[in-house]
């Protein structure tokens, strides 16, 4: 085609378009046909847009429910389980050459739990290569750590003095090599959760605008039809309007509730899970320091006072426990107190109050240890009442963690449920409404003739 030819074609096309438009609106049947076609296309396009947006958001919410949410919970539990394993391994040393079966069982249970958590993390890791690399690193380092503990155990059974040194090297390995990797994994999990929640709650304006535009279109068509044709009721159009209204209400409500569920998960359940892991980690560090000190030279290290204060700034009283149960502010410092003060339902508050009570029992045992001058008596005290009280505190923390985890995961699951079938329903509703519009306009055209 030459340049001159191109110049010649322009006016022809322009005049053809103008002619077509004129013909489309030349008489009333033509107007009806044209408007119905335009409305049909608009409904299908807007419906598809809304459905696609909802589907994208639903997928992201499902990822929060099935992958990033459980992954983050698993990594938090991993952090505290590693601390627990160290405390349990160290406690098992208190019983001398003849290993205490309960202590040993406690350590074995913890290692088994770590294995379960690693598997859960891998299963919920999705397609993220970094996550899986970190999980593999944690696994490899856990094996090294556990092997070192086993070596220390074997040396102790032989009565070798190097046993304690080996135990301490295992503890150091955990602190310097294993925990940082777990922290990196937890950070990665948190980033992924933020990203997924962002996607799960984003795009709501687009979906809402699309369904509102659909609704506006069919209402406008109904109004135009009523005015133009002396308020005669067109049943297919009324049906289309009601259908689009229903899907609009459903979409707007589901979107708002899903947003609220995920906001709740992010602002209530998740911080509680994180705070719990922090509090438990602090308590385990304390238990490890106490046990290691007693095992090494029969004394309680000076660090213990600061570590106790980090968990709970002062001794817990009956009033504190009652306030925690009532959901009132406990009112002093320490990671445990800030954990207890987090908003929870009645069962969660009851567990938080019990956690405080069981901490008080452990704290009382620590105070007795501090004032015991005989190292053997101190070891005996720690290996009986002290360990039992610590276990009680630790297990109650587990129960509280489980309750907070359930709240978090239930919020996420509820949010995901909000979009069940909504995308498909929106698409189908837009198609059915479009067909009803076509039928309604065709009926009017026939009546007009």
């Amino acid at each position: 085609m030459t340049a001159a030819g191109a110049r010649d074609v322009g006016p022809v096309i322009h005049s053809t378009n103008v002619g077509a438009i004129r013909r489309a609106f030349a008489d009333t049947p033509a107007q009806l046909r044209t408007i119905s076609l335009a409305l049909t296309v608009a409904l299908v396009v807007l419906g598809s847009l809304a459905a696609w947006t909802i589907r994208d958001r639903a997928d992201a919410t499902a990822r929060v429910r099935d992958e990033s949410g459980p992954l983050l919970v698993s990594t938090q539990e991993l952090t505290s389980s590693l601390a627990e394993s160290d405390a349990a391994a160290t406690s098992a040393f208190l019983s001398g050459q003849l290993e205490d079966r309960d202590q040993r069982r406690s350590y074995d249970d913890t290692i088994a739990r770590i294995a379960v958590l690693l598997e859960q993390s891998a299963r919920t890791g999705g397609a993220d290569e970094t996550t899986h690399d970190l999980i593999a690193d944690v696994q490899a380092r856990t094996v090294v750590y556990a092997a070192t503990i086993e070596r220390a155990r074997a040396l102790r059974e032989l009565g070798e003095p190097a046993a304690l040194e080996t135990l301490q090297s295992a503890s150091a390995f955990r602190t310097e090599r294993l925990v940082p990797t777990v922290d990196a994994l937890a950070e990665r999990a948190r980033d992924r959760l933020d990203e997924d929640i962002g996607r799960a709650t984003g795009g709501s304006e687009l979906a809402s605008a699309a369904v509102v535009a659909m609704l506006a279109s069919v209402i406008a068509a109904s109004v135009w039809m009523a005015r133009r044709f002396r308020r005669i009721v067109n049943l297919p159009l009324v049906a289309a309007t009601l259908l689009v209204l229903a899907i609009s209400v459903w979409t707007l409500t589901a979107t708002a509730r899903q947003q609220s569920d995920l906001d709740s998960a992010r602002s209530v359940g998740l911080p509680a899970v994180v705070a719990l892991a922090d509090a438990r980690g602090a308590a385990y560090r304390l238990q490890t320091v106490v046990t290691t000190g007693l095992t090494a030279d029969g004394t309680v290290s000076d660090d213990v006072g600061a570590l106790r204060a980090a968990v709970s700034e002062r001794s817990v009283t009956d009033g504190d426990i009652l306030r925690a149960r009532a959901g009132e502010r406990v009112g002093f410092g320490g990671v445990l107190v800030s954990l207890v003060e987090r908003p929870r339902d009645a069962v969660g508050r009851a567990l938080a109050a019990e956690t405080l009570e069981r901490w008080r029992r452990y704290d009382t045992a620590l105070e007795s240890l501090r004032t015991t001058s005989d190292p053997q008596a101190a070891i005996a005290l720690l290996s009986s009442d002290g360990n039992e009280a610590f276990t009680g505190f630790n297990v109650t923390i587990d129960a509280l963690l489980a309750a907070d985890r359930d709240v978090f995961l239930n919020d996420v699951a509820r949010g995901a449920d909000r979009f069940d079938h909504l995308a498909l329903a929106t698409l189908l509703a837009s198609v059915v409404a479009a067909m009803a519009v076509l039928a309604g306009f065709a009926q009017r055209a026939r009546e007009y003739r």
Partner: protein, 384 residues
């Protein structure tokens, strides 16, 4: 995505190579707890239906049920028809819960291993802990059970020890399971339990195996041993919870496997009976209160649990049934009462000291499928 996705078996394999992980996961309830869980517990406060084992509470006008009813204004139907874990599971729990229906019971009291299975199946309501402040009195060993850490789904009722009972008028002391299984003077006068974990557990201990880390192999070897002893006519019967006491009283059994609480009670009237924890070790167990899904009377059952976890009320139950109480403070209450109650406070079968506890084992380690496989063989043995 790399090929580095790891499965639990990979991790377990690595750790198992170090001898760190037994065959079984200790987190039986983990799968359930990961999923969204919505309570279906009712809020009824005026009625309560409890299904418990026989002779497991102080009865009468001043008994626990009567006092609770009077204090709380709750109409309690306390039924002592829990005779066998498997029978209750198959006849009462599974038919309703498997189809999503309520059982009609607010509280049932299975043994711990069945409670673990029920937790794993998601058939239990979480306890309304906000209404049970005395939950804090639960003793730590019961709080740390792997199937329900923190006891959010179960609240132990009583615990006990499985050991050996013998009639000192008929035979010389029977100090070990090996004696019970081999001594010629006991041939044909010995009974074991129809409760699989007790009988197999003791037989495992006699064979040097650890029932707290049971495997299909070690349990199977113990089962073979019992089969051989039964075929040789040494074991006369595998008795249930009432049958063994009848046989002991009548002299049909000169020695048998027995539960500590029963023997403490029996000895009060028949001091010729002795109970010993075998030299190889004894089995420990507990029965526990659980709330099946869809229970109607949530407030009433919480009030009951709180009531029986008050040490003063728990002490009355202990004084009557003489099993191990899971409630902290019971011993102090009994000691404070003086007289016979104070003597109970010093009984190591009711309040085991650390040395006694170290000799006790709780069945642990086998999977549900392995349990079912063992149970099928064991039931054939019991049936004769």
């Amino acid at each position: 995505m790399t090929g580095r996705t790891m499965h639990r078996r990979d991790v377990l394999r690595s750790l198992a190579a170090l001898g760190l992980v037994a065959a079984t996961p200790p987190l039986a309830g983990c799968a359930r707890s990961r999923s969204a869980f919505r309570s279906t517990l009712g809020t009824g406060a005026d009625r309560l239906r409890i299904l418990n084992w026989t002779a497991y509470i102080d009865d009468g006008a001043d008994g626990t049920v009567a006092r609770f009813s009077a204090e709380q204004g709750v109409d309690v139907e306390y039924v002592e028809e829990f005779d066998d874990n498997n029978a209750v599971y198959d006849g009462v729990l599974a038919p309703s819960l498997d189809s999503g229906d309520a059982t009609g019971w607010d509280i049932v009291c299975p043994t711990f291993w069945l409670a673990a299975r029920l937790v794993d199946q998601g058939w239990l309501e979480p306890l309304p802990l906000d209404l049970i402040p005395n939950h804090v009195n639960l003793d730590v060993p019961f709080l740390r059970q792997p199937f329900d850490r923190g006891a959010r789904f179960n609240l132990p009722w009583q615990a006990g020890i499985t050991g050996i009972a013998y009639n000192s008028d008929l035979v010389t002391p029977v100090a070990s399971i090996t004696d019970l299984l081999t001594r010629d003077d006991l041939r044909g006068r010995v009974a074991f339990f129809s409760e699989m974990r007790d009988s197999l557990g003791l037989a495992m201990l006699a064979g040097g195996a650890d029932p707290s880390a049971a495997t299909l192999d070690t349990a199977g070897a113990a089962l073979d041993r019992l089969v051989e002893r039964r075929a040789a006519g040494h074991i006369a019967a595998f008795a249930d919870n009432t049958g063994y006491l009848d046989g002991l009283r009548s002299g049909e059994y000169a020695a048998c496997v027995a539960w500590s609480g029963d023997l403490v009670q029996l000895r009060a009237e028949r001091p010729e009976f002795e109970f010993v924890i075998p030299e190889e070790g004894g089995m420990q167990w507990f029965d526990t209160m659980v709330v099946p899904r869809g229970a109607e009377h949530g407030r009433a059952l919480a009030a009951w649990m709180n009531f029986v976890y008050d040490p003063a009320n728990a002490a009355r139950i202990t004084a009557s049934v003489q099993y191990i109480s899971p409630v902290v403070g019971v011993r102090d209450v009994l000691a404070g009462l003086g007289g016979e109650s104070a003597q109970l406070a010093d009984n190591p079968l009711i309040f085991p000291d650390d040395a006694t506890r170290r000799r006790l084992f709780t069945w642990h380690g086998t999977t549900t499928d392995e349990d079912d496989e063992l149970a099928a063989s064991f039931e054939a043995l019991v049936a004769g």
